[in-house]
Symmetry: C2
Subunit: 458 residues, 2 copies
């Protein structure tokens, strides 16, 4: 893992961040005349998307997902539906093999919730994906946060934040057992002359007897190239941070201050080390939204032109769902006067910068980039800034958000990547192997100090 | 639906029957020197398979599936694992889009159990598949029968046969509501200038409040080309037959007597008519295993050569799981003397033809073809027999089983299809449209007399 030694100039890793729906992050931009997002229901859309990312030598196509359509805003789903905001949405898992078949090197990270599904079925599906992708698979571990998703999945309502992490701990225990503990190395003999396909002495049922999940089963699939896919997480709460530090190999973070982000990462690595893991076995990726053009002015013009298509209603629908706060209850153009005991006060104050901004101003600040860092500038300026973030914060790369599909991504590939390459900070060609090997120079399996490795019986 | 008018010479429809594992139906044949089944964990294996079927103008690639590894034989999974018999197995759903991307006309039917999964998640995944396949999707509805699968999925054990059908009725009610009742025709406006993606007045939450499943949700996906995929079922019990007659558009049957099969189909159509459906809205496909060569003798030689590679142990492992009877408790080479109160007696007598055969002989009779009709002969003989089955039983086509991959299927395509085409009983080129339109000449949605159509609110 020499590439992440502190002080040494690290190569930038790039993930493209997407969700399988018409509008994500830059809400409203599906209405831009050059945007093609409404094609998202076709297989060709996704295959051409993946091929473009591979031409740009992207490391990873990162697919977000959510259970349920946001319906907190105005107490109904209308705001989300009208703007195609996280609803409708496709199931991202089934898209991967088509994109993987049409590419050779691009890796794919798909979001999978640990909240509602049986570990056995989940392990089988992700193991199948890792087979089909020949080890180019990552898993973005999430706990589901929408009440509408909980009720859709047959529950009475949402569990508390901390209970969701208890459920997550059990779920991971279950899938780790299935991926790492059920089939030993060498279990698959595949000898036609013996004849022997599997040596049963090297396969065993594994069990979980938890409060939320329980099962006994032999893992359904033979061992996939990575066994456990590369594990991604985005934890920001203290419980979330402890969870991510214990499990994640890739951590998705947001921030606008280099100092804050650097401190956040140092803290993360310390928590990981405290839990017995190599602190360099975590890679950090920062969310960015890039508006690039040939000159700074042209980039600003582009940003302004895009801004005309942004949707405040779509953003409010998404944010209301994500925060669990119906933003329609607050005035848009006046400073918010909080009622006694308004439990949303601290969240709303953070959003409005301690009430310095009206809600409309706070929303406008997020209109095209959500909580991502927005970079607006010439290709040189953007490249400088990316490198500066790498060197001053100890991040390992970026999650680039969608804005106008596919124009903004193609622009980034055409204009910024060549400069990063010239400066020796971006690969000129792909490496080889599984996602884990490409990311860490080691693998294809999780290292011995990862909690999943304790499940191995070989 | 003129093509299924009785008396008229119907075009033969062909499904290729597979399961995503090393050994299925012709157990042991993965050990044949020319068999390539062990490549099943690679995406190229499946894509090349689908392309071959499309070159042969197959209608449909039918993927079976099962939860759990058979572990009834000898009370453990060893017999299954040693022979790669339904274990290990991949999740078939995620394979489809890669195969669909590489083909244009071949349709795909994937097995999905109604026993363990939440309807909301299932509806989302299958709707995504129907989008990705541009309407070339079928769903083989099954209730899960392995205790090992129930325990793997977090249950205490298997529900009774009839309870599993009660669960299935609720599950179908749930997914029909999501596919047919949540999004009206015209709900997706996709108008950039309005701007309006979805008209919320045409979208609503649907609910299920059953004993086994309950939810309230807006369907996550916008309406897919067929809404509900083409529905397949294989019910043989009286409860299973009533279920299939009420819901299925394609019915998978087995038999070796034309008279029995013709009666079975007539009975099926009557039950369907009694439940208010057009009895011609059901298509029947019979399981066959074909051993074809240039002459009858060459075909017999081929059959004999294949037989050397069959696995009695693998077959016993599968059958023990499927029947819920540990076959290892019975002698192989002597007539079975049943103990008092042996609850398996009727099943075992049926299998041994009223104890005329030893268990070994009964197994040998199924060694290469399971419960399928075996056709061994020259291409002319096989074509004659297929046409004769079509004309004398009112079936609509065949499910062709795997034997030696891909040799037996390629042989069938090269030798038998051209003869069927010459005789005007097999298409010379593909039609167009969704799977339902290709199968019934009507669609793409379910007809009004189908129970799912009652969920529509438009």
């Amino acid at each position: 893992m020499t590439d992440s030694t502190p002080g040494q100039a690290k190569e930038i890793r790039l993930n493209m961040l997407e969700q399988c729906n018409p509008s994500f992050q830059a809400f409203g931009l599906w209405t831009h005349p050059r945007d093609v997002s409404t094609g998202y229901t076709s297989i060709d859309y996704w295959v051409e998307y993946a091929k473009m990312l591979e031409r740009g030598l992207f490391d990873n196509f990162f697919l977000a997902d959510v259970y349920g359509i946001p319906d907190v805003f105005e107490g109904r789903a209308d705001g989300a539906l009208k703007n195609g905001c996280q609803g409708p949405s496709l199931d991202p898992t089934v898209l991967l093999p088509a994109m993987a078949y049409a590419t050779t090197n691009l890796c794919f990270t798909v979001t999978g919730s640990v909240t509602y599904e049986q570990p056995y079925q989940f392990a089988r599906r992700f193991s199948t994906l890792d087979h089909m992708l020949d080890g180019r698979l990552g898993w973005n571990i999430v706990t589901s946060y929408l009440t509408s998703g909980a009720i859709a999945m047959g529950r009475d309502g949402l569990e508390t934040h901390d209970t969701r992490y208890d459920i997550a701990d059990e779920f991971l225990d279950g899938v780790y057992s299935l991926w790492e503990g059920s089939w030993d190395a060498g279990a698959v003999v595949r000898d036609k002359s013996a004849p022997l396909y599997v040596d049963p002495a090297k396969v065993r049922p594994v069990s979980l007897d938890g409060e939320h999940y329980r099962f006994t089963a032999i893992a359904a699939t033979e061992t996939s190239p990575q066994r456990t896919p590369v594990l991604f997480q985005a934890g920001t709460s203290s419980r979330g941070k402890a969870f991510a530090a214990a499990h994640a190999e890739g951590v998705y973070i947001n921030g606008t201050s280099k100092e804050v982000v650097a401190g956040h990462i140092a803290d993360f690595r310390k928590v990981a080390a405290d839990s017995g893991r190599d602190p360099r076995a975590l890679k950090f990726f920062m969310g960015i939204s890039v508006f690039v053009d040939d000159t700074e002015q042209a980039a600003k013009d582009r940003h302004a032109e895009y801004l005309q298509y942004s949707s405040t209603e779509g953003l409010m629908a998404m944010l209301s769902g994500a925060m669990g706060i119906d933003l329609s209850q607050y005035p848009l153009d006046e400073r918010i006067e909080f009622q006694e005991n308004d439990s949303n006060r601290s969240v709303m104050e953070a959003m409005t910068r301690n009430n310095e901004l009206t809600l409309r101003q706070a929303l406008e600040a997020r209109a095209l980039n959500g909580t991502n860092l927005a970079l607006v500038g010439s290709a040189e300026q953007v490249a400088d800034e990316l490198i500066s973030w790498m060197d001053e914060t100890d991040i390992d790369g970026f999650n680039i958000a969608r804005i106008v599909n596919h124009e903004t991504t193609q622009n980034f590939i055409d204009k910024v990547i060549p400069i990063l390459q010239e400066r020796g900070r971006y690969k000129a060609a792909y490496g080889e192997g599984t996602f884990r090997e490409r990311l860490f120079g080691d693998g294809p399996h999780l290292p011995e100090d990862h909690p999943a490795a304790q499940k191995r019986q070989y």
